[in-house]
Symmetry: C2
Subunit: 224 residues, 2 copies
């Protein structure tokens, strides 16, 4: 049997900076959609696992090595790409933007973090993919502790609060949030304080992935 379908992967990578949720986009070097912004991605190699393909393309095109990656959805509409029948397995990733200096390479003439509230128009059906990823992120952060992937390993409680407010798009009561989050017993309070210029210095916290997984196995549920 001959099949003319080609398989690609695309990555929706989120970062968090200056209280903004941002997404990593590349400016396409080649046609179609030359000079349009698009999600990083590319063809899967014959013997390459899908996750590896995403990580490779992401690194080639942007210089980013991903911390957290999960499969989002497979987009297979026959007319989604003018080049032919391209089916794309989309992934959704989280990264700390300051960990990398992003640099355009191979198929991209430019790479940038875009505030998710100020997105350019995107190539192919990438706007649609991005929208799905945003929905997933919002849902996910409420029932799994993925938010920590977007913060430094040591972070201020206030940052965590703001992250949640940014992603969920609504205000959260500081006291209730802290009570709930600390009550889960998956954060370690460090003996370091940080003064942010003005105001009372704040404590640093650290997420304990080990303790979380242990508690998860025991049946304790993360939910915010």
């Amino acid at each position: 049997m001959k099949q003319a379908i080609k398989l690609m992967v695309d990555a929706v990578v989120f970062g968090y900076q200056d209280r903004k949720l941002s997404v990593l986009l590349i400016k396409r070097k080649y046609k179609p959609f030359q000079d349009s912004w698009a999600l990083p991605g590319g063809y899967v190699k014959d013997k390459e696992p899908l996750e590896e393909a995403v990580e490779r393309e992401l690194y080639e095109e942007t210089g980013v090595k991903i911390d957290y990656l999960e499969q989002l959805y497979t987009f297979g509409n026959p007319d989604r790409d003018p080049r032919g029948r391209l089916v794309s397995v989309a992934y959704f990733g989280l990264v700390r933007p300051d960990k990398f200096s992003i640099t355009a390479d191979t198929d991209a003439v430019d790479v940038e973090w875009f505030d998710t509230n100020k997105l350019p128009s995107l190539a192919f059906d990438h706007a649609h993919i991005l929208k799905s990823a945003l929905q997933r992120l919002r849902a996910k952060i409420s029932y799994e502790p993925v938010g920590f992937e977007l913060l430094d390993s040591k972070f201020l409680f206030g940052e965590l609060e703001k992250l949640y407010m940014t992603i969920l798009g609504r205000d959260i009561d500081r006291r209730n949030f802290r009570k709930k989050m600390l009550g889960l017993d998956i954060l370690d309070q460090l003996d370091e304080k940080v003064s942010e210029g003005r105001g009372r210095p704040a404590n640093l916290f650290q997420f304990s992935k080990e303790r979380y997984f242990r508690k998860k196995k025991e049946g304790i549920v993360f939910e915010i």
Copy 2:
């Protein structure tokens, strides 16, 4: 660019009969895994949407036309199929088994509904796919009213209870369940009663998909 990857779809179709959750399997006619049980599925045609491919293969191989279908996950491990690099987009479907007389055809020598508690060993990584689908079903039924897809359009409240208990694998308090479910105001109580042989005759109910979607838009959340 030449790519030797082939794209398939597989379907995990659940049904509910005699208080058992069952899944539709075919016995393979050809090698590899000849005479093994497997999920129905097959190759995607060049200009065919993925959902269409699943529905077509399902109909060809089993005679079932699906009511509810959603994408589950894409399985792309390079060594998941001995025939080469076959990436499979798995779907998850719900159907009322009594609506169809299942009949083996094309690639199958036999088709059967298997109780999910008495599964045979399966070809390829299909046991893994099935496991994912079961997890998804259990999660899904708790926050979206998909259970009705497994019942007749008119059903007894007791059947709904039993369906939930079967899928969730635990007892549910009849009174609390009824209170919660009826409180959602997405069921219509009909003026028909059915006597099941012995005991007090029970009322028939009907799920109002329209009302559910209206309420969902208004932000009302289904949760059991």
